[in-house]
Symmetry: C2
């Protein structure tokens, strides 16, 4: 079974090199990135509000290999890590919306490379583990 | 640009009908579901621990249509809803691990249909919005 996905937009950030990029969006809440939503999906973002948190799902487009064991993360199983070198290559970050203007969404919490394809945006699910 | 994904496993649940299924995993923490990981991905789950919370990413395999405006959710833009009728059809739920045995993961917080393909499992990101 194969599932085919298409980007709904692309992220512009200042990071072109994986080595200098923050590992998590929480380490990068003073950086601003921009999501440029493709015209055909624009109507879907009309209710996203500045100041709110959302979950971004994106594609690790620069990760061309994956491994079930992450050597960089103490040989942990990949599904206990956030490593980009994972099957299906889906990345997830919680970011804070700075502004929404037409098809451009500015956000705080940048931990993705420039040119990253966006797959989905979801309302942030509050912590219910407490 | 097309991105091709493959299921890493499938979820067994008691829900075969969308209408009777809980809308969110938090409403279903006494229900138990089972993720059956395919053999080729089994090594990736070795560090998932009973009692922990994880984020499941899966594919809404029964949603064959999507809309940018969700009529069932007060005509909200799809990216402000968790509706399954969304471009790329990725579902996300935070679930609590009950047990891990070989390639079978039992979990609480079932809000997906029987036979749902799993795309990824990620460690739960704690609430930093507070």
């Amino acid at each position: 079974m194969e599932i085919i996905m298409k980007p709904i937009g692309y992220i512009k950030t200042s990071y072109t090199d994986d080595e200098i990029m923050p590992r998590q969006s929480i380490d990068s809440m003073d950086e601003v990135g921009t999501i440029e939503i493709l015209d055909e999906y624009k109507d879907g973002i009309k209710d996203i509000e500045a100041g709110s948190y959302v979950t971004l799902l994106f594609y690790f487009h620069k990760s061309d290999q994956w491994s079930l064991i992450s050597k960089r993360r103490d040989n942990k199983g990949i599904y206990s890590t956030r490593s980009p070198r994972r099957p299906n290559g889906i990345g997830m970050s919680i970011v804070k919306i700075a502004s929404v203007e037409n098809s451009k969404i500015k956000f705080f919490g940048v931990d993705m490379l420039d040119g990253t394809p966006v797959l989905d945006i979801k309302p942030y699910i509050e912590d219910f583990a407490r």
